[in-house]
């Protein structure tokens, strides 16, 4: 009792081992600083492992398929590598479109069908008039109108984002069915567009380079601009973000609109690569895009959804699926992989988030 009185009245308070050293210059402080440095050395290694584990696993799996007898003749070929890089560019762009709202803790379940609608409308448009500029206009219109509608419903009517975008996705599915009658439209895609989708620059697919450029722009906006910082702040704690004067509704709306634009662009890229569009393609985008966006929180910047983590995750899933297909496993195995990856991604993101915040 008397002891406690003394410490509360003492000028410096009791030395608490839980708090970091306060006095500067003393021998004790020097010692503690050294200990702290040693800790950071070890922590840095753990950080590195945490940050690049997915990349390491990606390389290990790729090497495995290179040497496994089932795939050693088909997987490590230039043709296969190009297919892998090019085919996943579409998913990559849509994953980035999924990532943006996710940064604000919003789920956009309409990403797949936005890309799907964009694909069939672009295919129909370019087939009839051959104008690539018209296709770009369609992409912009779809992104702004559908993304804007999602944003308004979520931020103005305060409807839960999952419900809003699930409803929107279903409506878009209806529009796709109405416009196509369930059949792939006869397409006559102009050469200029298909050249873009299948072309190579220095042996690398143009469409993959496009993905890298889009990812780089997204990365710089998110991590090096005031706007990106504000988006991360909203995702971290919306109430706190509001109380430091951020326009939280505007920021959430922006991620929905830009996310939808990226998805619509994904639809255009799909047409350029596949030379047409089928009414069912949208549904096949949704799950891999979400799996990749969630897995991003398990790499590069653990605990935070991020751009390069998303790209790594897209190719991690692709290599796994591609290798298994080449080995001749039944197609349903891919569903196991994608579904499992989505759950694992969410679980890892949760665990890493907790580790960073508690």
């Amino acid at each position: 009792m008397t002891h406690t009185q003394d410490t509360t009245n003492g000028p410096a308070g009791s030395p608490d081992p839980a708090t970091l050293p306060a006095p500067v210059g003393s021998a004790e402080a020097e010692q503690k600083r050294k200990a702290a440095r040693a800790r950071t050395g070890k922590a840095r290694f753990v950080d590195f492992l945490e940050s690049y584990a997915l990349l390491v696993i990606l390389v290990v799996i790729a090497l495995f398929f290179c040497f496994w007898s089932e795939t050693s003749s088909t997987f490590p070929t230039l043709a296969n590598m190009r297919i892998l890089l090019a085919s996943q560019a579409v998913i990559g762009v849509i994953s980035l479109g999924t990532l943006l709202p996710l940064l604000c803790q919003e789920f956009d379940l309409s990403v797949g069908n936005i890309a799907g609608l964009s694909a069939i409308m672009v295919a129909a448009s370019v087939s009839s008039n051959g104008s690539v500029l018209g296709a770009v206009a369609i992409v912009l219109a779809i992104g702004v109108v559908i993304g804007g509608a999602n944003a308004l419903i979520v931020t103005r009517l305060h409807v839960n984002g999952v419900i809003t975008t699930l409803g929107m996705s279903t409506i878009l599915g209806g529009i796709i069915l109405q416009r196509t009658g369930g059949l792939a439209p006869a397409s006559n895609i102009p050469q200029s567009l298909t050249n873009f989708g299948t072309g190579l620059v220095a042996g690398v697919p143009v469409i993959f380079i496009t993905l890298l450029v889009i990812a780089a722009i997204t990365y710089f906006v998110l991590n090096h601009t005031s706007l990106g910082r504000q988006i991360y702040a909203v995702g971290s704690n919306m109430d706190a973000a509001k109380l430091v004067g951020l326009r939280t509704d505007g920021l959430r709306a922006a991620t929905f609109v830009v996310g939808a634009l990226l998805c619509a662009l994904g639809g255009l890229l799909y047409v350029s690569r596949a030379g047409g569009a089928s009414p069912n393609v949208g549904a096949t985008f949704l799950l891999p895009a979400f799996a990749a966006a969630f897995l991003s929180a398990a790499s590069v910047r653990p605990g935070r959804f991020n751009v390069w983590g998303t790209i790594i995750a897209v190719y991690f899933l692709a290599v796994l699926n591609n290798g298994l297909s080449l080995a001749g496993v039944d197609p349903y195995v891919n569903d196991y992989v994608n579904g499992g990856a989505l759950i694992a991604g969410v679980a890892l993101a949760t665990v890493l988030y907790r580790r960073r915040t508690t």
Partner: protein, 534 residues
């Protein structure tokens, strides 16, 4: 020796019929003695008031009774059987008939009265285990009749008055004790904190009726008027010790205040003793520096279109807002900043008027707001310390929207040094820091903007004593640099240590002010005097 006293007490108990007794219970948290050999006896069928200021140990004692907090030592008697208080558990509390109803009550507003009564007890079910709604409703009606609550069983709780909601919560806690001799003890923790005046009367009438019916009640409140009106016996705690025990006619406003605040001259309180020196030095400072300019004015709009000055804070001044729980003190700060809409009063600062519900303009006008709940309303948990600091000043750290990382890092390092934040690095997440250091980051986040007016809500809640003093020093430094500070704290010791003067808030209105040197006792007296006047 302990056995000896225990036997003696048991004899007394038989004579007076003691429903619940606590003997020599102590609890220490770190350097704080929350309970120091506290004993308590509650007579069967009585309404026993439990009073004490903030930090008196009141809530620790309640948590101990609930079995949530394990004391360091002491004994506990329920239904006449003594046990070691350390072995008390929530399950045991429930088994021995202790029922708790908290102020933030655990009822479900969107469910019906019948559903609320059934939750936590079990639903009436049919042969196939589905809920038998008819039986359920009938049972609810019976309970409502017994507790004389005049509402329909299928009304949604949210539609009831606050007093009726509280009574449903009480009925739910007590519904299973049917026989008079099996009565347990009902513990009500600040049941009226959020009730308007006329609702309080409804609730108190009901409680009197239950007590007359033989129900033992422990009534925890800081409202003197209610305690004098309703209780038969009172235990007052101060600084973790029993300050006084009162029964019957001894219970009055004056005896209660004397118990709560103690004799002012011999006060051992840390905060008030510090404050005398601090005030002396600060009065000197603010006068010397010549900060006499008005920085913040709150004025109420009167019916005839004129405005009536409510509160005025000068540059360099620290003004405290004192008030009881539910007085609207936190709400007032949020209204000033624009986080909560206001139409009762206007806010004017040096650069103009501050519109309602517009935090961005408030910030531009030089206001800064450190909210009460750091975790929920201020922290960006997984963002780095540098990012948490720069969020209020992004334009300072960027050119044409592009953040300049080196500049941001340097500014963060500078702030960390200036505010004495103990942090491994500027890139560590905010949650790597202790509570006190997190709070310093939040404070630095706002003070780097050199605000004209700083609004602080519970600036040192959940912060250890060392960090608390450092935060106080930082606030004083900001004030002496010309910032006007308005601080809300439920810890009057803190207000006394920090503020030069204080206003008292009740029902969202400024009702009194203390201009002289502040001490914890003066604040307690003024606030409780106000409570009596209402």
């Amino acid at each position: 020796m302990n056995d000896q006293t225990a036997t003696n007490l048991t004899e007394v108990e038989q004579a007076r019929k003691v429903a619940l007794a606590v003997q020599d219970v102590s609890k220490t948290y770190g350097a704080t003695r929350a309970l120091d050999r506290v004993s308590l006896e509650v007579t069967t069928g009585a309404i026993h008031g439990l009073m004490g200021g903030n930090g008196s140990g009141k809530s620790t004692l309640i948590k101990m009774l609930a079995g949530v907090v394990t004391p360091d030592e002491g004994k506990l008697s329920l239904k006449g059987e003594w046990i070691d208080a350390r072995s008390h558990t929530p399950a045991r509390a429930k088994a021995s008939g202790l029922h708790f109803v908290h102020q933030q009550n655990s009822t479900f507003p969107d469910l019906t009265v019948a559903e609320n009564l059934a939750l936590g007890r079990g639903f009436e079910s049919t042969a196939v285990k589905s809920i038998n709604w008819k039986a359920q409703k009938a049972r609810a009606r019976k309970v409502l009749d017994r507790f004389e609550i005049d509402v329909a069983a299928d009304t949604h709780l949210v539609r009831l008055s606050p007093a009726a909601q509280m009574m449903v919560a009480i009925a739910r806690a007590l519904q299973d004790q049917d026989h008079t001799d099996e009565r347990g003890v009902l513990v009500l923790d600040e049941p009226t904190a959020s009730l308007p005046k006329h609702e309080v009367d409804v609730l108190l009438t009901a409680l009197r009726r239950y007590a007359a019916d033989g129900q033992t009640i422990i009534y925890v409140s800081h409202r003197l008027e209610e305690v004098t009106a309703i209780t038969n016996e009172v235990t007052v705690l101060r600084n973790g010790c029993v300050a006084s025990r009162l029964t019957g006619a001894e219970i009055s406003h004056d005896t209660l205040v004397a118990g709560i605040t103690g004799s002012s001259s011999s006060s051992q309180n840390f905060g008030s003793r510090r404050s005398a020196d601090a005030i002396a030095s600060r009065v000197h400072l603010s006068q010397g520096a010549g900060f006499r300019e008005t920085a913040l004015t709150l004025s109420r709009r009167t019916s005839d279109g004129l405005s009536d000055e409510m509160l005025l804070v000068r540059a360099g001044e620290i003004v405290g807002i004192a008030g009881l729980l539910g007085s609207g003190r936190s709400r007032m700060l949020k209204q000033i900043f624009g986080a909560t809409p206001r139409d009762e009063f206007d806010v004017t600062v040096r650069s103009g008027t501050v519109p309602s519900s517009d935090m961005r303009t408030a910030m531009k006008r030089g206001l800064a707001f450190v909210p009460e709940n750091r975790l929920r309303e201020a922290a960006l948990p997984e963002l780095s310390i540098a990012e948490n600091l720069s969020i209020t000043s992004l334009s300072e750290h960027s050119r044409a929207g592009w953040i300049r990382p080196a500049r941001e890092r340097m500014a963060a390092q500078h702030l960390i040094n200036e505010f004495g934040v103990r942090a491994p690095s500027t890139s560590a997440p905010l949650t790597a820091l202790s509570g006190g250091n997190q709070q310093k980051v939040i404070l630095a986040r706002w003070l780097q903007r050199r605000p004209d007016v700083l609004l602080l809500d519970e600036p040192t809640q959940g912060v250890d004593i060392g960090a608390r003093n450092e935060i106080h020093d930082l606030v004083r430094a900001a004030a002496s640099a010309g910032t006007a500070v308005l601080v809300v704290s439920s810890d009057f010791g803190e207000l006394a240590a920090l503020a030069q003067r204080a206003v008292v808030i009740s029902g969202g209105e400024v009702v009194d002010s203390v201009d002289g040197p502040l001490t914890e006792d003066i604040l307690n007296d003024t606030v409780y005097a106000q409570e009596k006047a209402l």
